[in-house]
Symmetry: C2
Subunit: 140 residues, 2 copies
C-alpha cells in the first residue's frame, strides 16, 4: 500500500478544517454553499466499497458527524450527501448544506455554475467555527 496523497484538485478547491476518524474534513472554497469534502486518508481508493468493511463503518461515522455539524451550524433546508468522483477519482464525499434560496436550489450544486468566493474574514470565520465543531467528534 502506498501512502495517502491528497489529489491536488481537491486540495486547491478546499481548506482543511479537521481530521475525522478516517477522513480529512475540508471546507470547499465555493462560498455559494456551506460545503464539506470528506476524504479518506487511504491511497488508491475510488469507490466507497473499495474500503474495507471496518473502514466503511468509520467513514459512515465521519459522514454522520459532519452532517450533524453542518445541520447545527447552518440549519439548512436539506443536506446533500454524495460520493460521485467522475472527474476526480480519489474517493471524496460531499456534505453540503442546502437552502431553498441558494443559487442552485432545488437542483444539485455540481455543474450548476453557481460559484462565489469567500471574503478573507468570512473564510476565517467559517473555518474556525467548523474546526471547533468538528473537533468534538466522539470516539467510538
Amino acid at each position: 500500500m502506498t501512502d495517502f496523497i491528497l489529489d491536488p484538485r481537491l486540495e486547491a478547491d478546499s481548506v482543511l478544517v479537521g481530521d475525522g476518524r478516517l477522513t480529512q474534513f475540508r471546507l470547499h472554497r465555493n462560498a455559494a454553499f456551506p460545503w464539506l469534502l470528506l476524504i479518506p486518508r487511504r491511497a488508491s481508493v475510488s469507490e466507497l466499497i473499495d474500503l474495507t468493511e471496518d473502514e466503511q463503518k468509520i467513514l459512515w461515522a465521519d459522514i454522520a458527524w459532519a452532517s450533524a455539524v453542518m445541520q447545527n451550524l447552518y440549519t439548512p433546508k436539506k443536506l446533500n450527501v454524495a460520493a460521485i468522483g467522475n472527474i476526480v477519482p480519489q474517493l471524496h464525499v460531499h456534505v453540503i448544506a442546502r437552502f431553498d434560496n441558494d443559487g442552485a436550489w432545488p437542483h444539485p450544486v455540481w455543474n450548476s455554475g453557481i460559484k462565489k468566493d469567500y471574503a478573507d474574514d468570512e473564510l476565517d470565520k467559517a473555518v474556525s467555527a467548523l474546526k471547533r465543531a468538528l473537533a468534538l467528534e466522539p470516539a467510538v
Copy 2:
C-alpha cells in the same frame, strides 16, 4: 410512528426490484443510466441522520450491497452514490452506474436532461437480473 408510505413520485419513477434489510431496492425507469433507488421503509425520514444509529448501519449495508451488485452487473467506470432529496424529501439514496460514454458524463445525472425509456423487454431483463442479484444480500 406512522407507517411507511412510498412517495408517489418515487413510485412512478421506478420499479421494485427487491427488499433489502432496511430499504426497498427500486430500478429507475430512466434507461439512460443503470440507476437504483434505495428507500428506507421508515416513515417521516428525510435525512440520513434522521435514522437511528442501528438503522444507519443497516442502510449502509444495503448501499454497499447495491453498489456491489451494480458493479458486478454493469462494470461501470464509476459508481455515483448520493442522498439529495431537494425535490422529494422522503429519504432515498441513488446508486448509479456511470460510463464515460453515457450522455451526462462526466457530470452528474440529476438535472442533466438525459432521459431514455426502456423497451418493455429491456426493462423485464434488467428487473430480472437485478432481482436475482439483489436477493443474494447476505444476512448480518
